[in-house]
């Protein structure tokens, strides 16, 4: 087990374009770190530099206190689960899992014992003699994990390990990975483009955009205190709504009426004409269902609902709005970068599942002004971010995490489980 430190890592390809640019990241021993971002952001490249499959153009990669830039993958003692699992088709499941042990010339008895133990943890027992081609997607995924845990590696690396599974299996394997990592307490770096995985698995999440780190923080801090438009738009599903707003005497004039911020946050915005207001869907509600005591903390507005989606436990309403030309371009650019296809300017609003608001009608909504963020449309910077509150969220998450690991270790859980 070891910590992983990256110092000013740069990766340039033949044409001089930096796929990863000046990335510095410290991953503590036992920490679960997520690298997330849209396709082409450099997250897989970064992971492959950690494991040694990709040359590092400049910077230092330090694993367990040793600089490994010039070490071959096999000398780094890391194990990795590939996106398409990379199971050896000519070897049985047993031999696939045993492969790293065989390479290390481990005695036969120990190989047997370790592979059986790993198979127990992953419930692969009855498949040990089969070939990978005869396994289902979920089973292959587990074999790949078996190959990773059978060895006493210093860290686990995952490269989009669940992207080839269907949604249900993905959910199951996600919890399985979380449980395994907690149990083994091993340093883990996990690459994904799926923000659900990012939010649920990671102790901390590193959001990358075009090879540059945007923010490294606990999932809650990313969600509640994003540093910029990109992080705010990337984290959260459905995504945050961005409304254009004109600033008039401390009040934000949006297509959904005026929003008044508390004086402290109002002052943060400073002297600007046009801004983008970011509001998460759950900051809205059906005005008729809102507690009277809560109402003064926000504002109400009437709007025509285009479509509603009732999901049983929750409900979403889509409200179209007109946006000025200059902001539309900016929003389109953002949605392109986030790998989504925004066809129209509309707000997604989460309302109570019992709400009687119906599509095609006008309805009254309430908006919680306390949960609003204001962004500079040119730089994307979050003007109302409270960095102290964010740091506190991450600190809490770390505390909770440390407790969990102590508990797991104290109860003596090991691979043999």
């Amino acid at each position: 087990m070891a910590s992983v430190e990256m110092k000013n890592i740069v990766k340039k390809y033949g044409d001089g374009f930096p796929a990863v640019n000046d990335v510095s990241l410290d991953i503590a021993d036992g920490e679960f770190m997520i690298l997330v971002g849209p396709s082409g952001c450099g997250k897989s490249t970064l992971l492959r530099m950690v494991v040694g499959l990709e040359d590092i153009t400049s910077g230092d990669m330090i694993i367990g206190g040793t600089r490994v830039n010039d070490k071959a993958p096999r000398e780094r003692n890391l194990s990795m689960v590939f996106q398409n699992y990379a199971l050896y088709p000519h070897l049985s499941v047993f031999e696939n899992i045993a492969f790293p042990l065989r390479l290390a010339k481990t005695p036969e008895a120990e190989v047997q014992e370790k592979v059986r133990a790993a198979a127990d943890v992953l419930e692969l027992h009855e498949h040990l003699d089969r070939k990978p081609a005869n396994l289902s997607g979920g089973q292959r995924q587990r074999v790949a994990m078996g190959r990773a845990i059978v060895r006493d590696a210093d860290a686990f690396l995952f490269d989009e390990p669940l992207s080839n599974l269907d949604a249900k299996l993905r959910g199951q394997m996600r919890t399985e990975i979380a449980r395994l990592q907690r149990r083994l307490g091993i340093t883990t770096i996990y690459v994904t483009h799926d923000q659900t995985e990012a939010m649920t698995l990671g102790d901390r999440v590193c959001v990358l955009r075009r090879g540059v780190i945007q923010q490294v923080a606990s999932p809650r801090e990313l969600y509640e205190q994003p540093v910029n438009l990109f992080v705010a738009g990337f984290i959260g599903s459905p995504p945050m709504n961005f409304l254009p707003a004109k600033l008039r005497n401390g009040t934000l004039a949006t297509p959904f009426g005026d929003i008044t911020l508390d004086p402290k946050r109002g002052a943060d915005i400073g002297d600007r004409d046009l801004v983008l207001v970011g509001i998460r869907p759950e900051a809205f509600d059906d005005a008729s269902l809102v507690d009277e005591a809560k109402k003064p903390y926000g504002s109400t507005f009437r709007a025509r609902v285009d479509v509603t989606e009732w999901l049983g436990d929750s409900q979403f309403a889509y409200i179209p709005y007109e946006a000025p030309e200059e902001v539309v371009e900016q929003l389109k650019e953002l949605s392109r970068e986030l790998d989504s296809e925004a066809l129209r300017t509309q707000a997604v609003v989460s309302i109570d599942s019992t709400s009687r608001i119906r599509a095609g009608r006008e309805a009254e909504f309430w908006l919680d002004a306390r949960k609003v963020h204001v962004f500079d449309p040119a730089t994307g910077e979050n003007l109302t971010r409270d960095s102290d509150a964010g740091a506190e969220l991450t600190r809490l998450a770390e505390e909770q995490r440390a407790e969990e690991i102590d508990e797991a270790r104290a109860s003596g859980l090991t691979v043999e489980g």
Binding site: D15, S39, G40, C41, S44, D55
Partner: protein, 319 residues
């Protein structure tokens, strides 16, 4: 998905001084040529050298039995060849055989492929093994089998088909031009149709079943599905098969050598070149014929690739 940024999406910054490829890229370049170089060199040696030599020799009046009188005649040999009726006769024969065999093989090959694609799982291996035999058998053996079958003396065809008007016990199939060509084509078709049908079968397999189902739902008949869905989607595979077979047929030699030895005007271009050089030792004239044949093959290949837009990367399984 991959996170390596494709270099095409962003133009390389022009400001950065070009330091050339990285060490790894350069090492890969060197290793690539080290590994592939020998094969490449051998291929060049066994083809480029001979064809160069042939071009050179075609410029001389040169008989192997009479080396003293070897002299430079420029393009004279080509003039002699191109103004000779024998050349045009052999071109005609070659084109005739090529067109007949390729057309018949394409149709027949398509039918075979359809049967193999639809054959029950239980008989598919049998059909496949059977169909591979003609492909794998030596051309000369196939030519002998067909020749002996039609031969006046040893054949059974005359007695089996004597009920057909015009065929009797003493029908000499190799006695006239038309019937000789017919038997030659039969032998060629029998031997090479399997190759075409296997390529077409692979093409058929590339057309997803859902397309068929979608077309069915849209109300297309079997024929319509074939012409409007299946064939357009496997055009590339058909074209590749057609290209290879045409070039192959154009070089027809073995069957003619065995069956008629060029009698009754059944000489193909390859046969003419062989007879000039190897049999008559007219190296100068023979080389001219070889070069002309080579040019013809190149023209056909070029015509196919440009005219029909045959996508050869398809043949390499890159798509």
């Amino acid at each position: 998905m991959t996170t390596t940024v494709p270099p095409t999406t962003t133009a390389p910054p022009a400001t950065a001084p070009s330091t050339g490829a990285s060490d790894r890229a350069r090492g890969e370049q060197r290793l690539g040529w080290m590994l592939a170089g020998p094969a490449f060199a051998v291929m060049l040696l066994v083809t480029a050298y001979p064809i160069g030599q042939a071009v050179y020799q075609s410029l001389f009046a040169y008989r192997l039995t009479d080396p003293e009188n070897r002299r430079f005649v420029g393009l004279n040999n080509y003039g002699v060849v191109l103004s000779d009726a024998i050349w045009w006769q052999s071109i005609g024969v070659t084109v005739l055989i090529t067109v007949i065999t390729v057309v018949v093989e394409l149709i027949l090959g398509f039918l075979l492929a359809l049967v193999m694609a639809n054959a029950l799982k239980s008989i598919r291996p049998v059909v496949r093994a059977a169909i591979l035999l003609p492909y794998a058998i030596i051309t000369v053996v196939s030519a002998f089998a067909w020749q002996f079958a039609f031969d006046l003396n040893s054949g059974f065809v005359n007695s089996w088909f004597s009920w057909i008007p015009g065929i009797s016990a003493d029908t000499d199939w190799f006695g006239s031009f038309g019937s000789s060509i017919l038997v030659i084509c039969l032998a060629e078709i029998w031997k090479t149709t399997p190759f075409i049908s296997l390529l077409i079968l692979a093409g058929l397999a590339q057309v997803p079943d859902v397309l068929q189902e979608a077309a069915k739902v849209d109300g297309a008949s079997w024929w319509q599905r074939m012409w409007k869905v299946t064939i357009p989607n496997m055009k590339a595979a058909i074209m590749v098969a057609l290209l290879f077979r045409t070039l192959d047929a154009f070089r027809v030699f073995d069957s003619i050598f065995v069956m008629t030895a060029g009698a009754n005007g059944t000489e193909s271009v390859s046969f003419l070149a062989y007879r000039q050089t190897i049999a008559r030792l007219e190296v100068g004239l023979g080389s001219a014929v070889s070069v002309l044949l080579f040019i013809a093959v190149v023209l056909i290949a070029f015509g196919f690739i440009k005219g029909f837009k045959v996508d050869l990367s398809q043949a390499r399984g890159e798509k």
